[in-house]
């Protein structure tokens, strides 16, 4: 009899634990439903309930962080992602969420640090290297950014976005020839990469080669006639050539 009672009690304890776990899952699920319906404030209430029941429930921390980010409460979202990281410091989604929150706060140094963590967790993904490089460029650190683009290019030597950003780093460091060679490589991979033509134009312009600069801007405009930047750039080349009437024709229409 005594034995039976112990077994029943054990079963009850297991059942209660399971129910509690299910309830946590349920609250998180409810929160996600509200989140999907863009009812972010309500979703946060559900995620809080899930976290209260189980502070180690990483998904609820992450989802809460995402919901707070959706309502632009970036500082609070950072705390939530931190909650997830306290449970597991290698939670990639938490670092990714932090990157976005820091970018929204224009805090690029912290965003870059978070991006470095993502790269550390998942070094075989080229996009992680790229993101880290881009965030370093946003801080004006073109040299360190170069190393990150190298990391991306080690994984995929034809990764156009990394080639392009690396070209920008070279241009920023005054290495026009190096940048130009990368831009030519991009265009041999993808002749429709308009941004490469545009930067080619800028490099030509820096070298005082206005005719090829104009040609490059024209190529960019042909790919995307709605893109005003190469047209404005062309205006400057025309100005430098003393063709002010043509330059001003562009000026009044952009």
């Amino acid at each position: 009899m005594k034995r039976l009672m112990v077994v029943i009690s054990l079963c009850l304890i297991i059942l209660c634990t399971l129910c509690l776990a299910e309830e946590t899952d349920y609250y998180d699920w409810k929160g996600l439903k509200s989140y999907a319906a863009k009812n972010y404030t309500e979703s946060i209430v559900f995620f809080d309930r899930a976290i209260k029941q189980d502070p180690n429930y990483i998904d609820a921390w992450l989802h809460k962080g995402d919901a707070q980010r959706a309502i632009k409460d970036y500082n609070a979202s950072l705390q939530s992602y931190e909650g997830a990281l306290q449970v597991n410091n290698k939670t990639k989604a938490a670092w990714t969420g932090m990157i976005e929150a820091y970018i929204a706060l224009n805090n690029y140094p912290q965003a870059a640090e978070a991006a470095a963590k993502v790269t550390e967790i998942e070094p075989n993904r080229k996009e992680n290297w790229q993101k880290e490089g881009n965030l370093l460029q946003m801080q004006g650190d073109y040299e360190r950014a170069m190393a990150k683009y190298e990391g991306a290019l080690n994984l995929d030597p034809n990764y156009i976005d990394a080639l392009y950003r690396k070209a920008l780093s070279l241009m920023a460091q005054g290495n026009g020839n190096g940048a130009m060679s990368l831009l030519n490589r991009i265009l041999s991979i993808d002749p429709k990469y308009k941004a490469a033509y545009n930067v080619q134009g800028l490099i030509f312009e820096t070298e005082g080669k206005y005719a090829p600069a104009r040609e490059a801007y024209e190529n960019a405009s042909q790919i995307d006639p709605q893109w005003t930047q190469p047209r404005i750039n062309d205006m400057h080349s025309l100005q430098a050539l003393g063709r002010t009437d043509e330059a001003m024709r562009i000026f009044v229409t952009v």
Partner: protein, 254 residues
Amino acid sequence: MKSILCFFICIFIMSSFSFCQDASIYYDNLAGKLVSAKNLSEARDLFNKSLDQNPSNIDAWIHKGNAEKALRNLNASIQSFNRATALNSKNAPAWSGLADVYSQKRDYANATTAATQLTRLDPKNKAYWLNKGILQQMQGDFDNATLDLDRAIAIDAKYKDALYRKALSELSANKTDQAIELLDQVIAIDGKYKLAYNARGQALEMQGDYKRAIAAYDRALQIDAKWSLALTNKMHALLATGRQKEAADILLRI
């Protein structure tokens, strides 16, 4: 007996005519309320009803033209405004509507024709001269634009928009000193006129004075930090002075 019959027929015709006119005005007013509520499609249906009742209702044609314009049905809008001008060739809102829609269609020649009609209807209206001047500039006819802008300035010597536009005409002829003088006048009238600072930067750049050009672009950017035109112009001035890193910083953000 015959004359009584004639009398009643006349009364009936007059009543019908009066009813149609009233109904047309009623539908036009009702549609106007829908336009205010931004319910443009339904408003257009009511304008059509109004015009079914009385095709000579000029106001309804104009209002319909405006509704079609807001719905981006530019050809239909032109048709409506044309009907209004056919009914009354001296109707300024109809010509104004035509000038605006043709301008949106980038048909600057027809827009100028409509704008010319407005200057004939009301030669003392400075805004009409300015509008015509701008349309001439859009076609690259800076000389004739100057004539129109001078008419606007003759009406109001402190008309900043006209002074600014005249400065652009001067720049097209490479008369940078005259342009700067006009732009300084604009800035003296309105210290927050960002376009004037930007054009001043252009003028200084054309004179090869990149340092002061950058300062002028910075003034424009103090007013509107995210203005891509001023940012792009500053980027070019920086490139011209060998400040590639700062130029790249801008390129990443535009």
